[in-house]
Assembly symmetry: C2
Homo-oligomer: 157 residues x 2
């Protein structure tokens, strides 16, 4: 049986996962954010099978998250670059990283630390409210359905 597609679910979480929820995809994105652009560099860094990598890159291009761009004429060479849509996945990546830092790091601490250039401090990422700037916590948020959308965070968890 073909696995269920999330594309038609009326849910932004599901529809996002339809695009980036496959095994390996977010690690490809991690590399892209770290500046990797070329097929063999993705492949070497990740240790992913070449056919799988080709499929993932293709899909990311199809969805407009990466752009395949000619960077050399003879012989023809292409590279993959993040689009605005791709860059916009940064919060997803950092949220994943943040959770891993908190819950999977050993005594030596997280493998990677972040420095926010603007303020000069070592920082972690916080999910905050676009209106008041405070941290967004599950219990302090209420979800409103529009149309047929299913409620998220509708009840006390």
């Amino acid at each position: 049986m073909r696995r269920t597609s999330f594309a038609d679910m009326n849910c932004s979480v599901a529809r996002t996962l339809e695009v980036v929820g496959e095994w390996w995809t977010m690690l490809v994105m991690r590399e892209a954010f770290s500046g990797v652009r070329r097929f063999d560099e993705f492949q070497g860094r990740l240790g992913i099978a070449r056919n799988v990598l080709a499929a993932r890159l293709q899909r990311l291009v199809d969805f407009g998250i990466l752009e395949r761009r000619l960077y050399q004429e003879r012989p023809e060479r292409y590279e993959y670059r993040l689009t605005e849509k791709g860059f916009d996945l940064y919060p997803v990546l950092l949220s994943l990283m943040r959770w891993g830092d908190r819950w999977t790091a050993g005594p030596e601490g997280p493998p990677v630390r972040l420095v926010h250039q603007n303020c000069g401090h070592e920082a972690t990422s916080v999910l905050s409210c676009s209106e008041c700037g405070e941290e967004l916590k599950p219990r302090e948020v209420r979800a409103l359905m529009s149309g047929t959308g299913r409620p998220l965070l509708d009840r006390e968890a």
Copy 2:
């Protein structure tokens, strides 16, 4: 061929995905955040196959993200509740939702809107710096490797 495990990668993104990166898992979490606690309610809402759901719940329990709790003695009935570790996945969920709202919503807008009770406004989630509160953008962040960790965002993307 067995698929590659991300567990041993020295990367918080990879290790997080090892736990919640499988197909369906984050949708199970979505339901959990929305207050769903019982097997059949997860099943009915998601339309997931029962054996797959059982496997996902089991894995989430194994990793301490959900807790299986007896809520009725005769007959014995169990429910699944978010632990602190589970609640801490909220930023991941909202980041996924935010991206989907931006890039996959039709003209009618996002299926679900959020109201931040503390400030009373309809809000979206923003990833911000723990130190200065400003929004964290890829180009304004530098990554530092600790130990053998691979760099993230090390070069210009």
